[in-house]
């Protein structure tokens, strides 16, 4: 629990640590130069205590204003703030500590221009020190977060590749296709040859893919091979339609994104659709937003919402898909899966995609 509090107020604690260190060294320093009389020691310690307390609100102001500029990536404003604080904060700290001293009934010198002038350089230095501490903490956190994100993206990409492979070696799919090829060799040699080629290209795409992103064109091409395979298997019982805008073909998306939706559409579609299964894919650009829609005839099974493993050992991968979308597009995406008019529709919308 303590660790959680520390993580939450990391900046504050780091800056307080620096301040404590400064005050302690300065106190020891002053005490060493003075003849140690209890009266003087008390005055020095009290003065620094007031100063320490006066710095607390200043640290809060620093953190909030620096954070505000860093989040909005206003680097110039950040530098401006650092200088402004170094110039203005000393007077504030001085005023606060004299006020505290008055409250606790100690004698204080009246705040004059001279006093401010004497006081400013030292406190400015402290403020600059605190700013540097803030900046360093920020940088360390940022690189740690970047490393974590990269690691997570890699893990998820491997995970989805594994899912694809598991789907491909599951007996429902593999043995039924082999069976179809076996029959087609006698019945229609050309179709049998094409099925073998489609299968090898579909498998090659999965096995080759090591990159985390892929062009929409390549992904759609491979999806088409897969749908062709299903078409050859189910003949009249299966139909597919693909439409992809020319403008989106070169865009990069997380690999296997469309595959995952299409394979789910076929898997759950064949389970819930008695007669003809129709699968539709459309990829289009609408006002700079990328829209990927996969729909199939059939019903939405409850199992599609969670990560439950199906009978063939493949989970539906929707969780993986959402995690990867969140990693690549932050908040700029939406995913929905719903049933409307006898169609199950899975839709991904990515806002303001970079078309370059």
């Amino acid at each position: 629990m303590l660790k959680a509090i520390y993580n939450r107020y990391l900046f504050f604690f780091n800056m307080m640590a620096v301040l404590v260190l400064l005050i302690v060294t300065r106190t020891l320093d002053s005490l060493a130069w003075l003849p140690p009389s209890p009266q003087k020691t008390k005055i020095v310690v009290l003065n620094y205590l007031f100063e320490f307390i006066s710095f607390v609100p200043v640290i809060f102001i620093l953190i909030f204003s620096y954070r505000w500029t860093v989040i909005r990536k206003l680097t110039f404003l950040l530098y401006f703030l650092i200088v402004a604080f170094a110039v203005l904060m000393p007077s504030l700290v001085l005023a606060l500590s004299s006020w505290l001293a008055v409250i606790f009934g100690h004698k204080v010198q009246p705040i004059t221009f001279n006093l401010i002038e004497k006081y400013t350089p030292g406190v400015s230095l402290v403020i600059l020190f605190l700013s540097a501490t803030y900046y360093l903490t920020h940088l360390v956190l940022k690189t740690a977060k970047q490393r974590e994100t990269a690691h997570k993206a890699e893990t998820l990409a491997k995970d989805v590749q594994l899912k694809m492979l598991r789907y491909q070696i599951n007996p429902h799919f593999l043995f039924n296709v082999l069976n179809s090829i076996y029959t087609l060799i006698d019945e229609n040699t050309e179709k049998a040859k094409k099925l073998v080629i489609d299968m090898s290209e579909y498998y090659r795409y999965t096995l080759n893919k090591q990159q985390q992103t892929v062009s929409i064109e390549k992904e759609v091409e491979s999806v088409m091979k897969y749908l062709e395979i299903q078409k050859t298997r189910f003949e009249e019982g299966f139909q597919y339609e693909i439409s992809a805008d020319e403008a989106v073909k070169s865009l990069l998306i997380p690999s296997f994104l469309i595959h995952l939706l299409i394979e789910n559409a076929v898997k759950y579609g064949t389970k819930t659709m008695k007669h003809k299964l129709i699968v539709r894919l459309s990829v289009e650009l609408v006002n700079k937003n990328l829209l990927i829609r996969v729909s199939n005839t059939g019903k939405l099974l409850n199992a599609t919402g969670n990560n439950e493993k199906g009978v063939d050992g493949t989970s539906n991968g929707i969780e993986n898909l959402k995690h990867r979308l969140a990693l690549y597009y932050d908040e700029n995406y939406s995913f929905s899966l719903k049933e409307e008019d006898g169609w199950v529709v899975a839709a991904i919308e990515i806002n303001n995609i970079n078309t370059r």
Binding site: N176, N179, T183, T270, M273
Partner: protein, 102 residues
Amino acid sequence: MTNLKAIIVDDERLARVNLKKLLEPHPQIEIVGEASSCQGAVDMINMFNPQLIFLDIQLSGETGFDLLEMIDSSIKIIFVTAYDEYAIRAFEVNAIDYLLKP
């Protein structure tokens, strides 16, 4: 020896063709009909009154087990499937044999 009347139930036509071919060397089994769904199978059964059904387990939108609930239990069933995870359940419902697709 009397011929055994049989029907084949599988949602993939190619699989049905395949099975018919495999049954050619066994003239005592006479394939009288084929169906791609449970309802189609029930119609076939009413029409030809077969003694034997070659039944695929995974059909589009339904399973072979659904058919068993619709028909007379005296008909002998041989399950034909590409995978064997349903083997135990198949024998619980009185299947006389279990064939794996090539």
